[in-house]
């Protein structure tokens, strides 16, 4: 078709294929590449914090271990289980979208929202407990640490803890916003079959946020050993 026709859109009835792509496979691969490019920047965004963590931990091993043991490991483990389960419902939502199963798609998206919200609620209770124990060295709040030799290292650990979990929680909130939007669209009958690609792309984002937590869990909760 000529360039002229494309510009005015005469030959293109509204459909899933945008006019700049040869076919739907190319369009889907372009979308996937774009999402992975964004996730690469996210890997380095969180990676900077993991790098800072590694540096300070290598210089304050003992303080990091002591500080880590102030975190609630059973609660952190429970939260990891919640997030891994939300990844399952997200993967099932993608599966349902591509198979045009509208009812199941809506159910699985709602399931992901429920798990995601539960994660944030548990996180809220963990943060409140830290605040009660005077372990939040932010906003000018009083940070209480008995041993003066490990105090600077412990303070650094909790700074990193709140920035890393806070940034992760922010990503969860953004993901939840899109999940709500997609649930509404799915309810309206969109995002099915060949139009299901956005669900797959949101799934990539959601699984990435899950992976960040999979690493935050051992880095924050599992320093040293709690045996004995």
């Amino acid at each position: 078709m000529s360039e002229h026709e494309s510009l005015h859109g005469v030959t293109h009835p509204p459909g899933p294929l945008a006019h700049q792509f040869e076919d739907i496979e190319q369009q889907h691969e372009a979308g996937e590449l774009g999402m992975w490019l964004f996730l690469a920047t996210e890997v380095l965004f969180f990676g900077g914090l993991f790098c800072a963590y590694t540096l300070y931990r290598s210089q304050a091993e003992e303080a990091f271990e002591l500080a880590s043991h102030h975190l609630n490991l059973p609660l952190g483990t429970f939260n990891t289980a919640i997030l891994l389960s939300s990844s399952l419902t997200m993967a099932l939502a993608v599966n349902a979208a591509l198979r045009s199963q509208q009812k199941k798609l809506v159910q699985m998206l709602i399931g992901t929202i429920v798990f995601g919200t539960a994660f944030l609620v548990v996180k809220y209770f963990e943060w409140s407990a830290d605040y009660e124990e005077h372990l939040v060295p932010l906003m000018g709040w009083h940070f209480e640490w008995e041993d003066p030799t490990t105090a600077p290292g412990a303070r650094m650990f909790f700074n990193l803890y709140f920035f890393m979990t806070g940034l992760h929680a922010l990503h969860m909130v953004i993901g939840l916003f899109f999940l709500l939007l997609y649930t509404w669209w799915a309810h309206k009958g969109h995002l099915l079959g060949i139009n299901g690609q956005p669900v797959h792309l949101l799934g990539l984002y959601w699984h990435f946020v899950d992976i960040v937590w999979v690493f935050l869990y051992p880095f924050l909760y599992l320093v040293g050993t709690r045996a004995g």
Binding site: E42, L44, G47, Q59, L84, P152, V214, P218
Partner: protein, 132 residues
């Protein structure tokens, strides 16, 4: 287009098995963290389990196992540069003799009634005050 007889990968059954594997790894890492004392080995085990979990999620939940080589390459690029970021930073820092607890310079404790630094204490700001 997804017609009948054409399965979407990963299938529902596969997703459930992947979830079960991830949960099993989580239980393993919790038990090791809670009841095993392997010294420095503890974190090595926890990290290895996290790497395994992440690999499973990337390969199957994130479809990389089914993706084109181009998508795989883009997916790997972020992690490749992360490796450079952390690897080279550690090469620098681990070859220095620096300890966070002991090498912190000793600043004199501020007096109780001293104004906070950000409120314009000239001795607290090394930069000359312009435009004031």
């Amino acid at each position: 287009m997804s017609g009948h007889g054409h399965e979407i990968k990963p299938t529902v059954t596969m997703c459930c098995w992947i979830w079960a594997a991830l949960m099993a790894l989580l239980v393993l890492t919790y038990v090791v963290g809670m009841y095993v004392d392997a010294g420095a080995g503890n974190f090595a085990i926890a990290f290895a389990i996290a790497m395994t979990k992440a690999t499973i999620i990337i390969l199957f939940f994130m479809h990389i196992y089914y993706s084109s080589p181009l998508v795989r390459m883009w997916a790997g690029s972020g992690f490749f540069f992360l490796l450079i970021l952390i690897g080279l930073t550690l090469c620098d820092v681990r070859t220095r003799d620096l300890h966070y607890e002991t090498d912190v310079p000793e600043y004199p404790a501020p007096a109780e009634d001293a104004p906070a630094r950000h409120e314009g204490d000239p001795s607290g700001n090394p930069m000359p005050a312009h435009g004031k």
